[in-house]
Structures are given as structure tokens and as C-alpha cells.
């Protein structure tokens, strides 16, 4: 098994992508709603990632 080294950003993006697809599939009833909710979850993950990142950066200045 090859070894993979991801940065925090890359690992977070991969997790956000996979979790958004699964959340979109299991929570909504139509394909359109699933795609919209998956995209919404992905944007929320990214928003939280950058928001918390900036919060930690400013908290440590």
C-alpha cells in the first residue's frame, strides 16, 4: 500500500467532498435536492474550515 501525505488543507477538502456527497444522498428525496444539499454542505465545510482557520490565526497573534 503506497503511503500518502496530505496537508491539513488537502485532507479537509477531501473529507468535505466525500462527506458532502454522502450527506446529500442520504438526507434528501429528489436528485435536484440532493445535489443542492451536497453543494450546500460542501460550502459550509469550506466556510467552517476558513473561518476556524482565521479564528485560530488571529487568536495566536
Amino acid at each position: 500500500m503506497p503511503k500518502m501525505t496530505l496537508s491539513h488543507m488537502e485532507a479537509s477538502l477531501l473529507f468535505a467532498l466525500l462527506a458532502s456527497v454522502v450527506l446529500g444522498i442520504v438526507t434528501k428525496r429528489s436528485d435536484r435536492e440532493r445535489m443542492l444539499y451536497g453543494a450546500y454542505c460542501f460550502v459550509c465545510f469550506i466556510g467552517a474550515l476558513f473561518g476556524l482557520g482565521w479564528l485560530m490565526y488571529l487568536g495566536h497573534r
Binding site: 503511503k3 496530505l6 485532507a11 477531501l14 462527506a19 454522502v22 444522498i25
Partner: protein, 132 residues
Amino acid sequence: MSASKTPISAWLPIVALAWLVPGGGHFMLKRTTRAALLFGCCLLALLAGLMMRGAMFSPQTGDLFTTLIYCGGFVANLCSGIFYLLTVWMGYAQPDVAGHVHDYGTKFLVAAGLMNLLAVVDAFEIATGRKS
């Protein structure tokens, strides 16, 4: 038909297959696109976890925090179904070592199981007629 009125024989094989093979329940219910996406997501998360040399949890007891983390992590790993079984049967035994990449790997392995758990619940709801 409500879940309580659905005979157990109608949903138990679907739930069992959904646990064993991620997306298998949806495939059995002829939701092939969703099945393929669920399978792909769980497989990718598990492979990422393995390639980052994440640790699999084994149940340990002690104080409440230790019990929660290790037993909860073990159950989450177990939810990956055949992926977890294959990984263990093939002798994957990564020790829990310090380092952020290993830590991400451990979380990806747990996330793969939790994603499959969501898929199992969804397959159950479809099988009992609560969802389409």
C-alpha cells in the same frame, strides 16, 4: 407502509448487505447511482485512511473518556463492513503513533464507517417505505 408494519424479512437482508458492502443496500433496492456513489465515497475514505497509515481502534475500557473513544472508534471502524474485515484479515495493524498525517488517517478510517452507517440507515428507510 410504516416501518413497524414492514416485516423484518423485507428489510433485514437489505440492512445486512448495506452494512457488509457499502452501497449494497441501495443496489439491492435498485438505486444504482446512489449505490455507486456511496460505495465510492466509503472506499475512497478508507483508502485515504489506509494510505495515511491511520490506526484501527480496538475496544479498550478504563475511564469514561477512554471507553468512549476506543469503543466508539471500534464500532465506527466496524461499520465499514467488508472493508474493515478485509483490512483486518490482510493483517493491517498500524500502531497509533504521533503525527498529524497518521491522525488524519485514523479519522478517515472512522469517517468511512460513519458514512456507511448513514447509508445503512438510508437503505432501511427506503426498504420500509419511509423514503423513495
